[in-house]
Every structure is written in structure tokens, then in C-alpha cells.
Amino acid sequence: MSRLRLFVVLLLLPGLLPAQILKEFEKKVTEFTLPNGLHFIIAERHEAPVVSFHTYVNAGSVDDPSGATGIAHMFEHMAFKGTESIGTTNWPEERKALDAIEAAYDRLDAEQAKGPRANSAQLSLLSNQLQAAIEKAESYVVPNEYPRIIEENGGVGMNASTGYDATQYFYSLPSNRIELWYLLESQRFLHPVFREFYKERDVVQEENRMRVESSPQGKLIEDFVATAFAAHPYRNPPGGWPSDVANLRVRDAQAFYAKYYAPANIVIAIVGDVNPAEARRLADRYFGPLPKRPAPPLLHTLEPPQPGPKTAVVYSPSQPLLVVGYKRPDERDKDDPVFDIVSEILSGGRTGLLYRSLVQEKQVALEAEAADTFPDGKYPNLFLLFVAPALGHSVEENRKALGEVLDQLRARPVDEQTLHRVKTKARADVIRRLDNNAGIAALLTANYAAYGDWRKLFTSLDDLDKVTAADVQRVARKYFVAPSETIAYTQAPTAPAQENGQAATAAGARQ
């Protein structure tokens, strides 16, 4: 008991150390791995009778096969379509109807594959047959039964996301309904069904039109990333390329599931009013039947060294936007904490150098932000700078102003007060993130997946504490250099080429 008291007392002391925050939190955590490799992290918070669930699948759009980009995202959508018992009026008949769709689609594909020798009357017939098969299968569907059950049972925050590195599924329930989550979550990954696949493919295309094709920022970022990466699949948008998505097939989703949804590639966090022994018992019962499968293959493609600076121009009638990226190593590199500190120095709060210089002093920007990792962290990626120029101020002025801020970082070490400030903020941020179940669940899984231990959420603070002013200067000098730079900006279609010979960096321009 004395140890318990000691922690509480320490927690109240000023200048809280990461190790103490961790020890306090560790008391709430239980973790276990099922024989099939599925890992669970349980964190108890009994403040209210609610509980949050977070399933983190360590596979994302980087794992999309060539020609089938968007399949990780498509599978994520299919995971809400139900199971062999949820969402159907007659599974045996529905299954036959689903097989018939694939057979009809294969016949259509085969005719299309004849290219110039394809018979147009035959194509139209096969296309009608496919449509009829789809409608037949739909007649067995109870639409959206799976999410309806969650909503009806008081589920909130239900959603999923497909990122470059990972796919995540999450929601919260009243804590007397924990077993419902076990049932629903295990069944959708034990027996995925691919019902309404081709209608959902239309929905996914609408999602891409909304997020990317109808958004100046979406278009800019898509082209920026595709320019920065020549080989690594970070170059592909997380939702896939439109022509790939339009041709995705059920078998692509089945293959992706078989390869990447191995239990050992998934980690689950349950946070809230939960009993760890009960959580373990239910995990064995519901997730135990998931067959053990080999871990997915490693991704071998490495981005080759960048030969020189690159520029992408995106025509848009909107007010201008500018993004600049510098190649950086992955999140497990020893310099990772230095990048965290640099991004805080640049854009943390109102004292960040970018805000102070570009927004407050020069008033050339409306917004200027840095991100330490982009588009994701598992593989070498980009340190990102994003600027929205102020009305009447050009992209070129902002590039220059950005350059001056980075020069400052390269020229001399930051002062100790600044360094102390960003470290204090990092520590306070970790404490503040511990105030809601869903947020904690997301952090525990992400840290476990990236670093092999959820404790990294706390011990990363030790890594940050060790960063010195000299480290900041060294990293700025090493990484923020022209050959690893990619610049992208929007420009009105009618505008002449940028003044001041900016386009002269065309050596690295994208073809």
C-alpha cells in the first residue's frame, strides 16, 4: 500500500516525470496475447459505465497491390456489411447469388479482355446479366443491419479509417454490452462477407470525389505526395487511384484479407469500465477461433535517394496553398524525437517560429504549420510545412519567408527557453490525452503497433527530454536541404509561370 500512496503523492508534485506518469497508468493496464497471435491491451477506467474499443490492423494503403490501389480502404467498408448471420435473410441462397455475381463479372471481363475483338452486343448482354445478378443478391440483404445493431445498443463514435500504414475500427458502448462488441468484432473478421461490394465501390468513389477531386487541398496533397515519392507506395493515395478503384473485384478484397488480416497483425485495445479477467475470458471465446496465420510479408520497396529538388504545380481557381516537404527517416529512427521537437518549435501554439514570422510579423500567411511525419511514419517519409498565403501575398513570398525560418534553425542553436517550453508542452499533452477512453485506446494500439510496446506513449517523453539544441541544429542542417525537398503549390490556371525564376528548379520537376 505504501507504494500506491507514494505514486499518488508524486503525481501531485510539480515537474512530473514521465516515468511517474507511466507507473501510475501502468496500474490500470493488463495485456495478453491469444495463441493465434492476437494481442489485447486492457485499460481500466471505472469513472463511468462506458467502454471504448479500438482495433488496429497493421496494414493500410501501402499494402495495396499494384493495379488494385484502394483495396485496403474497400475492405474497411466491407467490414460494416455484416456476417453470415447478420445482414442476410438467407445466407445459403445469398452466398450462391454472390458467387453468381462473380461468375457474371468474370464473363464480362473475359469479353472485355478481347480488346478490339470484343463483341459490343455480347458486352451489353453480359453487362445486363451482371446487373441482374447484383440485384438478385441484393434481394437477400438486410441493409446496414450490422451498424444498426451497434447504434441501437447505444454505440457512439462508430467509424473506421484507412491510412497509409494501418486500418482502424472503433466505437464505444455502454459497459453492460461489452459482449456485443466481442461478438460483432470477432465475427466480421472471422467470416467476412462481401455483400453489396459493387454498390459500395460506387460509394467509395463518391468518397474520393468528395475528399480529393472536389477539394483544392486534397488535389494538392495527392500530387505533392505522388511527386515526392518515386517508388515507395506512399505515392499512392490512401483511397486508391480512381481507375483502380472503379475496377476492384471481390477477389482483390479476399486476397487482401487473407494476406494482411492475420491475428498476429492486429492489436486491440479496450478502455473503460472493463474487468480484465472477463475481457480475457471473452477474448478466448470469441477471438480464439480466428485461425493462426503467417505474418504478412514485409514491404521491400525502398524510396531511392532523391536526385534533386522537385516541384509540382496544381492548377486551381482557389486562393493559393503551398506545401514543402523534406525526406526524413521512419518513426523508429533515432532522430525521430528531434523531428517532434523541431515541429513544435516551428508550429506549436502562438510562439511557434512559423506563426510568429509568417503570420504575425511579415503577415504574408494566414496559416503556417509544420508536421513532423507525413503522410505516415512506418517507412521513411516527409517533414512537412504547409502554408496558406494571406490575401494579396504570393506563394513565392511565403517560400522565401519559410526559407528564412529554416535558415535560422540551421544557423544557430535554439535558445534553452524555447527548448524547455516545447518539452513542457509535450509532457502536458500526454497527461491531457489520458482523459477519454476512445483517445487512450487509439494511442495504446498505435504505440504498440509502431514500437512493440504501448509504454512508448510515455517513454517517448524521455526521448524528447534528451533532445538538445545541438540536435535541433544538426537535424535542420542534415535534412532540410535542397536535394531532398519537394514543393507543391496551387496556381490559377491562367496565371503566368511564377516570377523570380521559381520554375527554374525544373531539374527535379515531375514529368
Binding site: L4, K28, H39, E47, P49, E151, E152, N176, D284, A390
Partner: protein, 481 residues
């Protein structure tokens, strides 16, 4: 002791012990699951006190984390903007904090607060002003002092007023860059009418006219102790905090006449299809609807259930039809917009590829007609009610939510148990109620329909809907096209 034992087990990882092979129990179906009753929700007690200067204070201890937060709510709002200086309330809200205090420049305040990972922020929105603070417990006194100075002695320095105007001009210039934003904004402006505070918008000329004297006068009119409610929650002792706040605000005693009521919303229909042409998008962003109501309306629960069945989630009619069956949208939703004090907006919103614009609008109109002319099913009603009732526990899952709700009820003059009354009212809603309120309150002939996108790519022209079509002028005064 139990918690301590678990800590030790976590230290020696559980997963090191091989679990004994369990007998596999059959997996039940959803309907076979039996749930134990939900544990009672602990509703925390909030201490309420009025300081000698008239400020009303709500205190809630929460010792889970070593942090303290607070929010002051001031009765003001941009509904009080003068017509020739629209943006005055917004700029006042921005510069209260950025313009520093009598004693400190804003930049110094930035550094002092961020050095201790604390924040003080201010803003004025449509129907209230807020000044909030947040800090680690160890910095309680420092953050309270800064909060006090921002609330009671803002400096409104000229350079930060200029900066705020620059930021507003920049955001006005960007307001047509996002098609979704255009649709929502124009819908609201058309339904409320552009000639009154609910429907007018910031323009560069109105922002340019605002002076420091206007800002100071606006601040002085609305920021006085009797017009402030302050909620503080976190790791403190309520009695100590009460004493601290009494002493801290003893120097603030200005008075002003009570703040008048907000202007009423004009009840007028603006039927028609309003088109915003935006050539660089692949979808049409649409909003259909009319004026909604207020939360204290006796039919609010029935209206909420009705709009939920129509477009409130995966199971709703619009989601089923437009997204799942037609594959024509990713986002599609309906919401009976009810506000605390003035009618909100009943809106059906989403986006679809340009080609399917007209078929989507037609399908939505059919669903509105259906819910107005025939009863919903038992299963729809039951699902909608269960969804509301079972998720109600999440309104109490953090102490700060309870406090925030209490503050809001107090601010708008609602009963403290409004959420319990709402719960009861939802449980009592019948199919007949849903049909009656849909019939009485939805008036699709008078719907305002806003569509922003590329009409040249629509598969069918809008006039096939047989509703008058008007263009929206998206010119931004003061910005070269």
C-alpha cells in the same frame, strides 16, 4: 488492493503464461445475448456560488488528472453586430486575448502561458462569448491570473487588431474555395434572409470599417460581472477555489444595464433551387430544408426521432436509399436543427457526383414525402428510440460534460433536468406523433434547395424538377476574381 494486485500482474506480463486450452463454447447470435443492467451513472455534484460582484460560478472537483480547466460564458454574440460593421463581435473575441492585457503585451502573454503549457483563449460566436483557460494543476494561480486579466483588462493593442483584420480578410477571400462550405453557408443565409444578423455575413468592407474604439465600446457593453457565468473543473478543492476566485475578481465591479434579448428570427419561406456554380469540383454539394425549431418545443422529441429515421445514421432511410442502394453518395444526413434560443435549420445535406445530382435530389424529396404521408414502422421507431436511450449514458461519461451542460442550460434558461425530460419524451413518442409532426412541420413545397457544383455535367437539367432555379452570386467584394 485489487488495483494494486493488477499492477503487479501487469509488471509480470500475463501473456507469458500459456493459457490452458478452453472448451470452445458455441458463439451466440445477437438476439441470444443477455446484458446485465447498466451500472448507475454517478452524477457529480456541482457547487454553485455567486461572487459579491455578481459573477455566477460553477465548481466541479475532478481529481483523476492533475489539470484544471475553466470557461466563462458571457451573454453577447455576433447577433449584436451593427449592420455596417459586421465582424465587430468576432474581432473583439479574437483580440481580447491576442491584444494582451493592460499590463502585458499579447506576445509576452503567449510566451508566459506556453512556458508552462497553459492556455487562455477568447472567442465570440453567434449567441455567446467565451473566455477559457487550461493548465496543469501546479500552475493554477498563474493561469487564473492571466485569465482574470484577459477577461477584465484586455489591452486591445492596435497591431493585433490589424492582424485580426488581416486574418478575417484572408478567410473571407477563401470562403469559396470549399464547395461544401459554400452550400452550408448559402443555405443558412437564404433561409434566415441576408438582411438580418442571422443571415448576413462578414465582408471585407465591413471588416475594414471596424476601429479600436468600436471594439473597446463593444467589450465594455457586454463584459461585466453580472453578465458572466464561470465554470471551473479539475484537480482542486472547491472551498479553496471559491475563496481564490472571490479574491481574484474582487477588483472587477463594473456594471451595465442588462443585455437585451437577441433579435427574433423572421419566419419567411424562400422556396426554390439556388445554384452556386463551381467548375473545379467533381461533385454537387447540396443542402435542402427550411427553418427548424427550438429545443423547448413540446414536439422536439418527436421531431428529433422523425429526422433520425429520415437521415440520422447508417440505418436511416436516406442513408439506405441514396448511399447503400443507389451508391450515389458518401455523406447523406438529415437533422432537425433545434437551437436553445432561436429556430435552427432543418437540413438534409450531402454530396453526389455531378451526373447524379437531379436523381439524388428527387430521391430525397420522395423520402421527405413518404415520412409526411405514411407512418414509420414499429422497427424504425424502436431502433430510433433505443439509439437515443441507450447512448444517453455518454452524456454523462465525463464530469466536464455534466458541468458544460449545466452551464448551457443556465445560460439559455432551461431546467437543470432538461436531459431527463428529453429522455422521457423520447420514450413516449409514437408512430402517430412522428407522422403528425412530419406533416405539420415539414413543408417541402417551401424547401430552400442549394446546389453547388458543375451544372453543365448534370445528367438531367435542374428544371426537370419543376422548381424555380436561381443563381447564387458568389462574388466576394474586395477580392479580384
Amino acid at each position: 488492493m485489487t488495483r494494486f494486485a493488477i499492477a503487479l500482474m501487469a509488471a509480470a506480463p500475463l501473456f507469458a503464461q500459456a493459457p490452458k486450452p478452453a472448451v470452445q463454447l458455441p458463439i451466440p447470435t445477437v438476439s441470444e445475448l443477455k446484458f446485465p443492467p447498466l451500472k448507475p451513472v454517478q452524477i457529480p455534484s456541482v457547487e454553485t456560488v455567486t461572487l459579491p460582484n455578481g459573477m455566477k460560478v460553477f465548481l466541479l472537483e475532478d481529481h483523476e488528472l492533475p489539470v484544471i480547466d475553466g470557461i466563462a460564458r458571457i451573454r453577447t454574440g455576433n447577433l449584436f453586430d451593427p449592420p455596417d460593421k459586421i465582424g465587430l463581435a468576432t474581432i473583439t473575441g479574437m483580440t481580447m486575448r491576442t491584444g494582451g492585457t493592460r499590463a502585458k503585451e499579447g506576445d509576452q502573454l503567449d510566451r508566459d502561458l506556453e512556458n508552462i503549457a497553459a492556455s487562455v483563449e477568447s472567442t465570440i460566436d453567434e449567441t455567446s462569448g467565451t473566455v477559457s483557460f487550461s493548465a496543469l494543476k501546479e500552475n493554477t494561480d498563474a493561469v487564473l491570473a492571466a485569465f482574470h486579466d484577459v477577461l477584465t483588462q484586455p489591452g486591445f493593442r492596435e497591431d493585433k487588431i490589424e492582424l485580426a483584420k488581416n486574418e478575417l480578410r484572408g478567410s473571407i477571400a477563401r470562403r469559396n474555395d470549399d464547395a461544401h462550405g459554400i452550400a452550408e453557408r448559402e443555405f443558412a443565409n437564404i433561409v434566415y434572409g441576408r438582411d438580418n444578423p442571422y443571415g448576413w455575413q462578414l465582408e471585407i468592407p465591413t471588416v475594414n470599417r471596424i476601429t479600436r474604439a468600436d471594439i473597446v465600446a463593444f467589450y465594455q457593453r457586454y463584459f461585466f460581472p453580472a453578465n458572466v457565468m464561470l465554470a471551473v473543473w479539475g484537480d482542486f478543492n472547491a472551498a479553496d477555489m471559491k475563496a481564490k476566485l472571490t479574491q481574484l475578481f474582487a477588483d472587477w465591479s463594473v456594471t451595465q444595464p442588462p443585455v437585451p434579448a437577441f433579435p427574433p428570427v423572421r419566419q419567411a419561406a424562400h422556396p426554390g433551387i439556388y445554384v452556386g456554380v463551381k467548375p473545379d469540383v467533381a461533385q454537387t454539394f447540396f443542402v435542402l430544408g427550411q427553418l427548424g425549431g427550438v429545443l423547448r418545443d413540446k414536439d422536439y422529441a418527436a421531431l428529433d426521432v422523425m429526422s433520425d429515421i429520415l437521415g440520422g445514421g447508417f440505418r436511416s432511410r436516406l442513408f439506405q436509399r441514396v448511399r447503400t442502394r443507389m451508391g450515389d453518395a458518401y455523406e447523406i444526413e438529415a437533422d432537425w436543427g433545434a437551437n436553445y434560443d432561436h429556430p435552427g435549420l432543418f437540413r438534409i445535406a450531402g454530396s453526389t457526383k455531378s451526373a447524379s445530382t437531379v436523381e439524388t435530389i428527387r430521391a430525397i424529396r420522395e423520402e421527405v414525402e413518404r415520412i409526411r404521408t405514411s407512418e414509420v414502422t414499429d422497427s424504425e421507431l424502436n431502433t430510433a428510440k433505443q439509439t437515443v436511450l441507450n447512448s444517453l449514458v455518454f452524456a454523462f461519461d465525463t464530469k466536464s460534460k455534466t458541468l458544460g451542460r449545466l452551464l448551457t442550460y443556465e445560460y439559455f434558461g432551461y431546467p437543470k433536468d432538461f436531459i431527463a425530460q428529453y429522455q422521457k419524451a423520447v420514450a413516449a413518442v409514437t408512430k402517430a406523433d412522428v407522422l403528425r409532426v412530419a406533416k405539420e412541420r415539414l413543408n417541402p413545397d417551401n424547401f430552400t434547395i442549394v446546389a453547388v457544383g458543375n451544372p453543365k455535367d448534370f445528367a438531367q437539367p435542374l428544371d426537370t424538377l419543376k422548381i424555380p432555379v436561381k443563381d447564387i452570386d458568389l462574388t466576394i467584394p474586395g477580392v479580384p476574381r
